[in-house]
């Protein structure tokens, strides 16, 4: 079992190398099949490890360099359930998008597959590593693969600019992380997460610790796309190839949040734990701002992939709230939420990809009614929209309910309302777009009212519009949606996750496991919490989203006085916020600088 641990990272990387070495004369299907087989086997390895780790967490030391007396020199992979759940999700999504791209690209060659496998290997390594510098290396490997994948369509201007913005901003984020690692190493002389945690515990909270923490958190915020570090995301998502968007929306941002949790709970809990109340307020506040801004930006979008990009920003904000509550129950809820929600958003991206394949456009107004010929994709798309709203039995309602309950217990009763409002606001534009594109609801497109980002500027990934949609494409989209649905049907899913979350949040148990090889004793399952209330809220949210979507479609029928007052009151604010998303990399970096300064100021004021 233990030997599977390094294999989970090695298999995708070796497979990528083999694929790169394969003769270019191979038929395209050979590359496809090999890549799918490799990613699929990684998924199997990760699920076996996940099952094993829920019984007994494991560690693997490379080269047998075991720690002596609490000092670790070797590199380590740690198998605990939360990390493996994310690794399994990553492998599942990569497998799904490779299956999806079977018919998606008309181009031949193996580079796309190679990059996808490298991306997968880096993501799994990032989840499992217990070493700070390996974390950085996997972070960078993952980023570089992601930059190349985002700019894969080198013939298209939008894709190139998106990739460029993405690469510049995320590289600066990575340098912030590296500076943080350097400062932590300077203080502790250690790179092993557990050993750093032991070394920092009980130390005074001084400038160096706070500076290091600010650099690390800011760097991870860039990857997670927390406001105001989020500007790269919509640009990149709008223009990246659809199979890649699935990975970005489903797992890439989420790993930034995972890194925050990992960094805090293995290393900084001992030194910053006394100031947890302040830290919680800052994190929940940052999450709330991100959730609201992302949701507001969703509404005016007509480019469907860009719309889904902003919904990702918004939902990342909600996950950050869950994570920032720093409690096991909220963390378990966050994990359920981000996994099921990521699958739903992935499925929505795949449906958008089917549109692109069929109609050569993902412009909501330009495609008005043109999707009538693919009603099944339309149904999947609408179901996805309802899943975003948290309609039971999609697993999204479970996660949202858990976070909301725990937030209320910790003194943030408004979080439930905020999360419901935000899910309604992100789901409604999706439902609106779906109803318009696939059924032609609403008045005809008003082309005098053109917004800036239109969906039809995008070159399709295939050379011409297709008459039919290959079954593999919608089967993949349906599979992602189905898994998210089934997750919500698993009875007492959160109850099963809480012990894993408690283990993740237990610095002592982690250090015992890594440094002393002590297996944590199994925690008893807590009594199941009734989720009826969350389910009712989910139904209400879904209904509200449908109503809001209808308003979006038929707003011309509202009385003129109401329309005018809405335009007058909200118009300038919308215009101002939209104008900030200028597509200019320099502006984005300026915002990043502001973000670091604000975060640093807040943390220094409250922790110091």
């Amino acid at each position: 079992m233990r030997v599977l641990l390094p294999l989970s990272v090695a298999v995708p990387l070796v497979a990528a190398a083999l694929l790169l070495a394969a003769p270019q004369s191979w038929v395209r299907r050979g590359f496809d099949a090999f890549a799918v087989a490799a990613a699929g086997s990684v998924m199997v390895i990760c699920s076996v490890l996940l099952a094993g780790s829920t019984r007994e967490p494991m560690v693997y030391w490379f080269g047998g360099w075991l720690p002596e007396g609490g000092v670790a020199l070797g590199l380590v992979l740690v198998a605990e359930p939360i990390a493996l759940a994310l690794a399994t999700l990553a492998a599942f999504l990569v497998t799904a998008s490779l299956v999806y791209s079977w018919h998606f690209f008309d181009t031949t060659g193996n580079l796309f597959h190679v990059l996808m496998l490298v991306f997968l290997g880096a993501m799994i390594g990032f989840c499992l590593t217990g070493d700070f510098f390996s974390l950085f290396v996997f972070f960078e490997l993952m980023s570089v693969a992601a930059f190349s994948l985002a700019g894969y369509k080198v013939e298209e201007e939008g894709s190139l600019q998106g990739a460029l913005n993405f690469a510049v901003i995320n590289s600066i984020g990575a340098f912030l992380v590296l500076s943080g690692i350097a400062l932590v190493y300077g203080r502790t002389g250690a790179l092993n997460l557990a050993q750093i945690g032991e070394s920092l515990a009980g130390a005074p909270v001084d400038g160096l610790v706070i500076t290091a923490f600010v650099f690390l958190i800011a760097g991870y915020f860039v990857k997670a796309a927390v406001v105001p570090f989020h500007f790269w995301l919509p640009d990149t998502y709008a223009a990246a190839p659809t199979p890649v968007c699935v990975l970005f929306a489903g797992i890439f941002n989420v790993l930034g949040l995972y890194a925050i949790a990992r960094t805090y709970w293995t290393m900084f809990d001992g030194v910053l734990g006394a100031e947890l109340v302040n830290l919680r307020t800052i994190m929940v506040g940052a999450g709330a701002v991100t959730a609201i801004l992302g949701a507001l930006m969703c509404w005016p979008q007509r480019h469907i992939k860009r719309l889904l990009g902003f919904s990702t920003v918004s939902h990342v904000g909600m996950f950050l709230i869950g994570l920032g509550l720093f409690s096991p129950v909220a963390f378990a809820g966050t994990i359920v939420y981000l996994m099921t929600d990521g699958l739903v958003r992935g499925s929505l991206f795949l449906c958008a990809g089917i549109l692109l394949h069929r109609l050569r456009s993902v412009d909501e107004l330009g495609c008005d009614g043109l999707g009538r010929s693919i009603p099944f994709t339309g149904i999947l798309f609408l179901l996805g929209g309802l899943g975003l709203a948290g309609l039971p039995p999609f697993g999204t309602f479970v996660g949202r309910a858990l976070i909301g309950e725990e937030a209320a217990r910790l003194g943030f009763p408004w979080v439930t309302y905020l999360m419901v409002a935000v899910s309604v606001l992100t789901a409604a534009p999706v439902l609106r777009a779906g109803a318009r594109v696939f059924w032609g609801f609403g008045p005809g497109a008003d082309y005098n009212h053109r917004s800036e980002a239109e969906g039809d500027e995008e070159e399709p990934e295939t050379t011409e519009a297709h008459e039919t949609t290959p079954p593999l494409m919608w089967v993949t989209a349906a599979a992602l949606l189905g898994v998210s649905l089934v997750a919500g049907l698993v009875p007492d899913l959160p109850v099963r996750l809480v012990p894993a979350a408690e283990l993740f949040l237990d610095r002592g148990a982690y250090a015992d496991l890594v440094l002393r090889g002590v297996t944590p004793h199994k925690l008893p399952l807590p009594p199941g919490a009734p989720l009826l209330e969350g389910a009712v809220t989910g139904v209400i949210a879904a209904l509200a989203a449908v109503v809001a979507a209808a308003i979006g479609l038929w707003h011309a029928k509202l009385p003129a006085s109401i329309r005018d007052s809405i335009t007058r009151s909200l118009g300038p604010a919308f215009g101002g916020v939209r104008a900030l998303h200028s597509g200019h990399v320099g502006d984005y970096v300026a915002w990043l600088t502001v973000g670091v300064a604000v975060l640093g100021g807040l943390l220094a004021a409250t922790l110091g």
């Binding site: 510098f133 690469a167 597509g583």
Partner: protein, 114 residues
């Protein structure tokens, strides 16, 4: 141990950022990113530096003699490999952008907004 290297690292970070924010040319922007990254080299090496210590090559020095920290040097080396990858990729993207858009000026690249 003086604070000078840390001040240099902070300075490099700041000028790199300033250069990126105000850049009017994508190639210039990529170079500014490299300048910014070089601040991490300085920071890492400064952290491992010990006054009067020699390089961590244990062939010609007596056992127990002070040496500078080899770990941060290994980290710097890894970091510079990462930097080369990122720069190469960014330069390739910049050239491709120029081919398609006919300009290197970020101010004129504005098809992604709103």
């Amino acid at each position: 141990m003086s604070y000078l290297p840390f001040a240099v690292a902070a300075w490099l970070f700041a000028v790199g950022l300033y250069g990126i924010v105000t850049s009017r040319h994508l190639i210039h922007l990529v170079i500014c990113l490299s300048v910014l990254q070089s601040s991490t080299y300085v920071l890492l090496l400064a952290i491992g530096y010990r006054t009067g210590a020699s390089a961590p090559i244990f062939v010609e020095i007596p056992p127990g003699a002070p040496v500078v920290d080899p770990v941060v040097q290994a980290l710097t080396l890894t970091n510079s490999v990462v930097a080369a990858t990122v720069s190469a990729l960014l330069l390739a993207l910049a050239v491709q952008v120029h081919k398609k858009a006919g300009t290197f000026d970020p101010d004129e690249l504005d098809i992604l907004h709103g």
